[in-house]
């Protein structure tokens, strides 16, 4: 306990957005994923579970294990993402709807901005991930679109 207080908090933030993704939440709180996360030095696990009906057991970490907490929705998750050391998000729940967001996740993985996994491969992904090799995602920019729209409509360039 003493040692923990001095240690920096390293948060894993899990978010499913406005949908539900119980399979992901179950995978995250499975014992092997939790212990792998702890092995990698993470101290807290916070889950935004959306409309899911699977409520993971909360844990205050008193026994030296990972601190686990969850909530359903928040008006903004930007602060959680900013304070997190690791974010586990969802592209698509294959049990729902079409899966075009898979394309995006795979493209971002190819460009080394993130790692892609499925609930049943999450443990493997967490075990094998090398966060140092990830490349920072460049901030988006709407100005190319704006420039083309302005030119098309005959507005002068600024």
């Amino acid at each position: 306990m003493e040692a923990r207080v001095g240690d920096a908090k390293r948060l894993v933030f899990v978010t499913v957005g406005t949908t539900s993704f119980d399979a992901l939440v179950k995978a995250v709180v499975s014992q092997n994923v939790k212990s792998e996360l702890q092995k990698r030095g993470y101290t807290h696990l916070l889950i935004q579970m959306g409309r899911g009906i699977f409520f993971p057991t909360k844990c205050d970490g008193a026994d030296g294990s990972l601190v686990v907490d969850h909530f359903t929705f928040s008006s903004s998750i930007a602060d959680y993402i900013r304070s997190a050391s690791l974010v586990i998000s969802h592209a698509v729940n294959e049990d729902l709807m079409d899966n075009h967001q898979c394309e995006l996740a795979e493209e971002l993985q190819e460009r080394k901005h993130l790692y892609c996994a499925r609930p049943h491969t999450l443990h493997q992904a967490v075990t094998n991930m090398e966060l140092e090799s990830l490349v920072r995602y460049p901030p988006g920019d709407g100005t190319p679109v704006a420039r083309i729209i302005d030119r098309f409509l005959g507005f002068p360039d600024d």
Partner: protein
């Protein structure tokens, strides 16, 4: 006998003239459609200075976020007044648009805010039966027509999903009928890497969108009339 013949002739003549009128109207209309398709996508002459009334179709969730990020870099004085439309079932998007407009108004304090926010019925909700969706589609189209008659925008910005389709089709009809010329800009979502969305495909193939933007180079290769513009967010 004579009279009978005469009657026959006049009937035939009127039939002929009606079909002649129908045929010539169809030809004129077709020619106009072809002209509009030809004229769409051609840039306007340089030197515009007047502001253009702009319709912004908010698609919900990520679509709305991408649209607002585009709006943040557009010159507000050029695109005014601004009309925002979102699906009636989507209560977040208009709220986000309002706070965006408030932040813009704060920056140019003193200037009058020139934006309006409207909701539109959707033709079909997820999971709705096809039988009832015939009726709701008619209502949705009528509502879209009513909104478009009221707004008559000169510029339409949209990025999917389906909500924008009836509005863009009506805008295209307005061009054909000479009611209002508008420029339609469609930005395909960043989530589309290899295939266009159904809305994007329709607006691209039917040449309803004047300018079409994609956020990944793979898509631009497949759809050469599109502009590759990198990621909006």
């Amino acid at each position: 006998m004579e009279e009978h013949h005469c009657c026959m002739y006049s009937k035939m003549a009127s039939k002929c003239s009606i079909s002649l009128i129908v045929i010539s109207l169809t030809i004129v209309l077709m020619a106009r459609v072809l002209y509009v398709i030809y004229r769409c996508g051609k840039p306007f002459p340089k030197g515009a200075s007047q502001s253009l009334s702009t319709l912004i179709v908010l698609g919900s969730g990520g679509h709305t976020a991408e649209m607002l990020s585009l709006l943040s870099v557009l010159r507000k004085d050029r695109f005014a007044p601004r009309f925002y439309i979102a699906a009636a079932t989507d209560n977040m998007s208009l709220q986000k648009a309002r706070s965006f407009e408030d932040s813009v108004a704060d920056k140019n304090a003193g200037k009058e805010a020139s934006s309006q926010f409207m909701q539109i019925y959707r033709s079909r909700e997820v999971g709705q039966s096809y039988v009832t969706s015939v009726w709701t589609t008619i209502v949705a189209i009528a509502h879209a027509l009513w909104l478009m008659i009221r707004i008559r925008p000169q510029v339409i910005l949209c990025n999917g999903p389906g909500t924008c389709i009836p509005l863009c089709v009506i805008a295209f009809l307005f061009k054909v009928l000479g009611i209002r010329w508008s420029s339609i800009f469609y930005v395909e979502s960043v989530a589309r890497v290899k295939k266009l969305s159904l809305s994007g495909l329709l607006l691209y193939k039917l040449r309803i969108a004047d300018q079409f933007f994609v956020q990944w180079p793979q898509l631009q290769k497949k759809y050469p009339r599109a502009h590759y513009v990198g990621c909006l967010m």
